[in-house]
Symmetry: C2
Subunit: 425 residues, 2 copies
Amino acid sequence: MGLVVQKYGGSSVADAEGIKRVAKRIVEAKKNGHQVVVVVSAMGDTTDELIDLAEQVSPMPSGREFDMLLTAGERISMALLAMAIKNLGHSAQSFTGSQAGVITDSVHNKARIIDVTPGRIRTALDEGNIAIVAGFQGVSQDKKDITTLGRGGSDTTAVALAAALDAEVCEIYTDVDGVFTADPRVVKKAKKIDWISFEDMLELAASGSKVLLHRCVEYARRYNIPIHVRSSFSGLQGTWVSSAPIKQGDQKVEQAIISGVAHDTSEAKVTVVGVPDKPGEAASIFRAIADAEINIDMVVQNVSAASTGLTDISFTLPKTEGRKAIDALEKAKNVIGFDSLRYDDQIGKISLVGAGMKTNPGVTAGFFEALSDAGVNIELISTSEIRISVVTRADDVPEAVRAVHTAFGLDSDSDEAVVYGGTGR
Amino acid sequence: MGLVVQKYGGSSVADAEGIKRVAKRIVEAKKNGHQVVVVVSAMGDTTDELIDLAEQVSPMPSGREFDMLLTAGERISMALLAMAIKNLGHSAQSFTGSQAGVITDSVHNKARIIDVTPGRIRTALDEGNIAIVAGFQGVSQDKKDITTLGRGGSDTTAVALAAALDAEVCEIYTDVDGVFTADPRVVKKAKKIDWISFEDMLELAASGSKVLLHRCVEYARRYNIPIHVRSSFSGLQGTWVSSAPIKQGDQKVEQAIISGVAHDTSEAKVTVVGVPDKPGEAASIFRAIADAEINIDMVVQNVSAASTGLTDISFTLPKTEGRKAIDALEKAKNVIGFDSLRYDDQIGKISLVGAGMKTNPGVTAGFFEALSDAGVNIELISTSEIRISVVTRADDVPEAVRAVHTAFGLDSDSDEAVVYGGTGR
């Protein structure tokens, strides 16, 4: 029986009842002989309420003070959780990110963990305590200021602690039963995945699946920490994310050809129309975008029309960055040399992810056939070794996801309803 | 222009509007050329809400985790205040008690400050910032755990920082205009005191005046830090508490003969009936009480009745300790040897405070005459060099306070209403 790190999201500790329920689950793990480290998010809507308050005193709150404000949320939940555990007769101690040794860079509001020195956690465990750690927060290496890791940061805290403490597993408790073959709100017949590789999970996360964030999976892969995503409500086995397939009973879970279908309607498409088709043009466009610190996703360049020597370049990016991108391109219009810009935020992206693609040449064809049969028009295509993504009209997304899910035999036989919600942060 | 420490209570920063109003006042002080350190309490009812939550997960919350929980309140208010100041174009940095160097002992929930090492505050000031510090909290010297100072702790934080930073003055902003000659809720004609000595203020605080807590005044006297108690709403001159009288314009404010009338209805009276009148009896009673860690206030021993050789001993103590005291005495009944116990929680205490008492022999007589004229019966009497206190029926307290206030010429000529409320912590 080794050390386990458990992470509970905001929806799992939304009120006193939730905290008491979670406390029981933690004590259960301790009774089973584990050393237990718990990472906890702020209660329910606490973070949003603090953001509201901040916006009332200061437009566009950010920086050092905003981090100081937001980290109050986890202090509250972790202290309450420690009290609830003590009330069950077990000893628990809570630690802020700083006390837990979560050392970050100084980029406030989206800091990166650069080291974890969990000396106090180790001592607390050795003295027989359950250690409760505030998720989402750390302390900057140079200035010793409180930092936050951005949305989803608590998952990263959990994985980073699991790595630093050499944990057996990092359990991410949430309000869904695990990772599904598609978003159950869209595909009623979506199935829970028993095991998925780090690589496939990374592609799903990058393609719109919200259960685990990309950064957290990346961290787990780097340190080879198995993640177990499961529900804090049901107690069922969830989804294992690891490098090698797990065993269930006597049977090894096989690697699926296709892991799942992800979708994303949070992006917009920018088309730069009438770009001279000569070397360096694309570079100057994406230099302008990069200088504005905008991350882009897919890029497609049309075949040049021989008669004009002009071409169009399209790319997708988060809708929230749309305004900034258009401004940056307009400013660089003379340097780049183009006719006009088109902006379209009514698009959606559907992605099919699975390591089996590499060795199953029929996958791509099957994907396009399914979309065609569903009457969905494709606007952009992009592929990796284990993923195909297409951009369509946003309105077509639900139908397209369902069609692809069925075509690849992912539909569940049962009609059981699945409850699905956010994962806290 | 030197350094000023300003402290704002919870009612002054109860909402976003309050925070913005306070931010303006702070910036005003900065513009006037001061270096400004601000100590802030939790917003409005935040602390009570956190206590509620704690009681939902754990009966009788206390200790390390309870402190961790409560300190979240000041983190929120201090960060919001720093943001509001920045929004006015001035630079501000917020610091937790730990970051501000408030070092305490390890007695959770009522820690004592044992050192203040404000290196980070000094640096922030030298770089031109306004420094915002979380009141009510510190970090324990040995274990580096977060501690709280108990009710009223923010005032103590402010005075302690003022002493460590050698401030010109410690301004305590609250929701009343200052310290009054009596509680304005009871005595409509109570007057604001312009100046009061540390000694008189200590006696008032010990006698039931709630504007400043005893511990905070004691700290200020030890380090000779002038306190200016004033309203964060009106901006008027409030009450100065210091060792020597202040000047107002050309005139030095004179020491008053009588500073004010305080009252307290939070105490109960215990009478130990039929105690053998021999040496060591009183000692054994108060040893039993002290072993139960109960602080008592007044003590009176009746003249022994010669016929029986028995006497009665009465003392007062906080009502909240009543049950504990009775239990402790019952347990020690055989050792002490007494007939019975009487418990009375319908008492009130009225105290007249003033350094002038020492040299004005008529004061005591005048005090008793005023009470007698008002038809108030006296049950216990206790005196110090600069205070007389009596215990009466609780119902008689308002009338008694008004009668004494009038008799000593403390009534104001104006009929202006005074707004009075709590002082946060």
